[in-house]
Amino acid sequence: MMYAIETNGLTKIFSGYKAVAELSLKVPVGSIYGFLGPNGAGKTTTIKMLTGLSKSTSGEIKICSKDVKFGSLKNRSDIGYLPDVPSFYDWMRPMEFLMFSGELFDIEKKILKARAENLMDLVGLSDVKKKIGGFSRGMKQRLGIAQALINEPKVVFLDEPTSALDPIGRKDVMDIIAKLSGKVTVFFSTHILADVERVCDTIVILDKGKLIIEDSINDLRHKYTGRSISIKLDEENGNKGVFESKLKQQEWVAKINSNENGDLIITVKDMKKAQLIIPGIIHEKGVHLREFAVLEPTLEDIFMKVVND
């Protein structure tokens, strides 16, 4: 498999504190890669090392098979970068900033103009003529994505692009990121799990500078699925107590709780047995079933579990 980003033993130490510890990543070409972690996990520090803005204490970085060195210009054409709080020149207009960004890459003026117009369209700023100084945070993030794409990079780094936005701004930005799928490798850091769940193919969970987990969302769900079953019974069901005590006797049942709606949440040790046997107990005890569901873990459940473990 071709990798857009590869790191090996990447470490950053700030005055004795390990902000990033022995981080080894392999980001497949064309993927949308979610870089998850609570605040202070080391996400921004990692991105700054990957973009050559910060010097690693040890370890190697390759972007599109080229070594990344602190301050080197070698990888600049391959990457686009949107910092967590993008700041522009307030006196410029958005199209001007895109043209300026493109000229820094020596892109031919005609091509640059067409590309800038397309990007303005992509991020929904085509009709905006006012100066950047008057932009909302959401507009700045959208312009930030456009400037990160002006050189048609192979890899684009988006550092918490939605964390400071209201729900509408967040949706706009996530829609744009979703449109990039397959066209460019997106390395997307966030602590908002719903965003990752929506667009990312693969995720990494980072905590205290260490990689906790790296997997595709589907595989993660598969690994963490099959632990709980929710059963909703008819409200006037008199046999609920008998049904519950029969379940408690089963050796494959770990725990039974009720949620705020009165549904039974059964944590099981063996999902296959539970799926076969529970319908029989329901029939045997004469309880009226309204709903039987194997609970899919949300990314939040997985995140909380791996971070707390």
């Binding site: 700054k48 973009t51 050559g52 803005l53 910060s54 010097k55 602190f70 301050g71 210009l73 600049r76 054409s77 990457i79 970068y81 910092p83 709080v85 993008p86 700041s87 522009f88 020149y89 006196w91 410029m92 300026f100 960004s101 000229e103 820094l104 890459f105 020596d106 400037q147 050189n151």
Partner: protein
């Protein structure tokens, strides 16, 4: 072409943020005020001073045209310096603190281009302001005194120009070293005070850039010989280069 893009942005910024009007306007004020002060201040002192009982002030002779340039050197050498440090103290640190430096430095702008473009643009802005000031001062000096020129005038003014471009390079160095604009301002003023203090010390003053203003004025007044100005000119040019190299070196080491 790409190498000039950031410099073009700097020049555009100077125009669009109205620095191109504000700084020349301040220097124009210095240029207009200096000959007027030279001509009328002695008359005002004489008139109002003598109106106080018991005081008699007599001016020995009518002021000459070169007093206008003395006033100009004094204005620019004091208030002008403060204005220059205040205008340029945020040049580098401002972009670092605000975050706009990250966006350009992750593109193809080298750190050398970043510093040199900023120094060049600042020097051009100052030079425009300086020319405006000198032209206004010379014109009014001519109107008020009937003479404005002597053979050493251009050289004397060049020394003042060189001193301020030296101060700009020092301010940019302070701005690169600092993490906040306030620290940059404090550092800039401390360096300026240090340079001024050094130029008062024997031996050192013969080489110090801080002597350029005094020597420039001395040339115009005919009190200084051309041979004495070579050492501080060379020191200033070397120090400008060292400050720029130092700024580039420091920025290259900084994690932004």
């Amino acid at each position: 072409m790409r190498k000039l893009t950031f410099f073009k942005k700097e020049m555009m910024e100077i125009c669009r943020t109205y620095k191109i009007i504000v700084l020349p306007a301040i220097f124009l004020f210095f240029g207009l005020l200096s000959p007027l002060t030279a001509k009328f201040l002695p008359q005002l002192i004489e008139k109002f001073g003598n109106s106080q009982q018991g005081y008699i002030i007599q001016m020995s002779e009518a002021p000459k045209y070169n007093v206008a340039y003395e006033q100009l050197f004094s204005c620019i050498g004091q208030i002008g310096m403060i204005v220059i440090i205040l205008v340029f103290m945020g040049t580098v640190v401002g972009e670092k603190v605000k975050g706009s430096a990250i966006l350009v430095l992750t593109k193809t702008v080298t750190r050398s281009q970043f510093i040199l473009s900023k120094y060049l643009a600042a020097t051009i802005l100052f030079t425009i302001s300086f020319i405006v000031s000198v032209v206004a001062c010379s014109y009014y000096t001519y109107l008020l005194f009937g003479r404005f020129y002597n053979n050493n005038l251009i050289l004397g003014l060049f020394l003042m120009w060189l001193f301020i471009t030296f101060i700009i390079s020092m301010t940019i160095f302070a701005s690169t070293l600092s993490k906040t604009i306030t620290v940059s301002a404090v550092l800039g003023f401390l360096c300026f005070a240090g340079i001024s203090a050094l130029s008062a010390l024997p031996v050192i003053k013969e080489y110090s850039p801080g002597s350029l203003l005094g020597m420039g004025l001395g040339l115009i007044d005919g009190k200084e010989s051309v041979s004495e100005i070579v050492a501080p000119i060379v020191t200033s040019i070397v120090m400008i280069i060292l400050f720029l190299i130092g700024s580039i070196y420091v920025l290259k080491k900084q994690e932004i």
